[in-house]
């Protein structure tokens, strides 16, 4: 995919700029944390990932207060019926290029709450999910690995999105990515 983009628009300065932007996106993932009805277990683990023991700030991770500032949306919880609207709104408030991480087993499969009449999950029914971090709750290392993976996806995607003339190619790869992530492999394992 990277080769195709490089061929699509030439010019060394543009290529350099694109590579710079790609590195910047990989190195500066800002998170917005959203709870869609979680039991608070995963939320505690996200905070633990930023604590001195795990220190995600080494990767440039910052937990932002506003979804407008974020690149990566971290969703916990099995998406209750009350939370569906909020999840969609917050997803739209995060500006592109963006990625979504489903943290814990709940947003991936609704976990033990499956078939509950108060749920409208799992998460990928409502928004495209890029990385699933399994676990109940997942360890902070796994969350950090997931964030790093999402930042990598973001960087790769930005290479194709910023290519002006090959917008259709970008759209195609987008669709392909989404298809890969959502329908073919519902759960992406994160190496622990």
């Amino acid at each position: 995919m990277a080769q195709r983009v490089a061929n699509a628009d030439g010019g060394a300065p543009m290529k350099l700029l694109k590579r710079l932007m790609c590195t910047a996106r990989r190195r500066s993932p800002w998170l917005f944390h959203m709870n869609s009805g979680s039991c608070n277990g995963c939320d505690i683990e996200i905070v633990a990932a930023l604590s001195p023991r795990y220190d995600a700030e080494q990767l440039g991770v910052r937990l932002e207060g506003s979804p407008r500032h974020a690149d990566i949306l971290c969703v916990t919880g099995p998406v209750t019926r009350k939370a569906v609207g909020a999840v969609k709104t917050v997803y739209d408030q995060v500006l592109g290029p963006k990625a979504v991480i489903a943290i814990g087993s709940c947003p991936a499969t609704t976990n033990v709450f499956i078939d509950s009449r108060t749920l409208d999950g799992p998460l990928d029914k409502h928004v495209p999910v890029d990385v699933f971090v399994p676990g109940c709750p997942p360890r902070p290392d796994a969350i950090i690995a997931g964030v790093a993976k999402a930042a990598g996806i973001l960087a790769e995607r930005s290479m194709s999105v910023t290519a002006g003339p090959s917008a259709s190619v970008a759209a195609a790869t987008f669709a392909q990515d989404d298809k890969q992530n959502i329908s073919d492999e519902p759960v992406k394992e994160v190496q622990q």
């Binding site: 932007m21 996106r25 190195r27 500066s28 080494q58 440039g60 207060g65 506003s66 407008r68 500006l95």
Partner: protein, 308 residues
Amino acid sequence: MTLLTALARLLIFPGLLFAVPAAWFFLWVERKSVALMQGRVGPPFMQPFWDFMKLLGKSTPARPGIAGLLMRAWPLIAVSAAAGAVGLLPVLPSSGGFEGDLILLLALLELPSICIIAAGFSSRSIFGEIGSAREAALSVSYNIVFLLAIVSIAASQHTFRIEALAAAPNSPLHWLGVLAILVCLPAKLHINPFSLPNAEQEIYAGPMTEYAGPELAMWELSHGLEWVAGTGLVATLVAPHLAIPLGAAWLAACIFVVLCVVIVLLLSALAAATARLAIDSSVRFYWQCTLIFAILAVSSAILMRIRS
């Protein structure tokens, strides 16, 4: 000050060409030192630069009308004001300046704060409005002390030229004024314990809640430039100007940077050691605890002036 030296100061040293990397460096020093004090490793050296580049590449929501125009204008005004304030600092010995440049410097230092207040209100976000109201209340309280401290230094030397103030022999009154400025810097830079205007998580991101992409990048840059201007002002006031030989401009520049980093470290230590104060406690701190010293400094400066 000729046009050429003025442009050189504004664009090269200590202006934009120096100030922008210095702003990133100071932001990194702040984050890294806070991380080390908390027993973490902290962000890599290039982190503020990567953050800035990434934000430049993000999209912004479409905002039609005059509100969108204003929201795009405030961060640019803040950045140019902060860069202008850095450009006015007399870092190099005999770098020129004009009578009254202290007043211009104070106005430029104040402008980013006013832009933040206006930005929060023009974003029409409820969190932005809360943040702006807090910023306004805080600004009214710390600025009295800040301005009185600078007036006391200026009154004791009877001039509004920054270079003359910087070159003046250090008296106890001078140090009192510098101390008062230092007390105001955490509020001016929105760090703990006075981080309540943009209280992270508590009111989302305060006045910055609705800002995204390149606009947010400009706010980050203006925040970094405020660091350079604020610490630079203190550094020029305490730098031993008379001890530096006239030709050694590089020495003056090095002393300036080292002093600035020391002040950044001091402020980061304060930020790491304290928690956020509520708005009433912050306002009370400035009005009750520090105002009396600022008034004492001003009155003694004026009395000394009359006696001599």
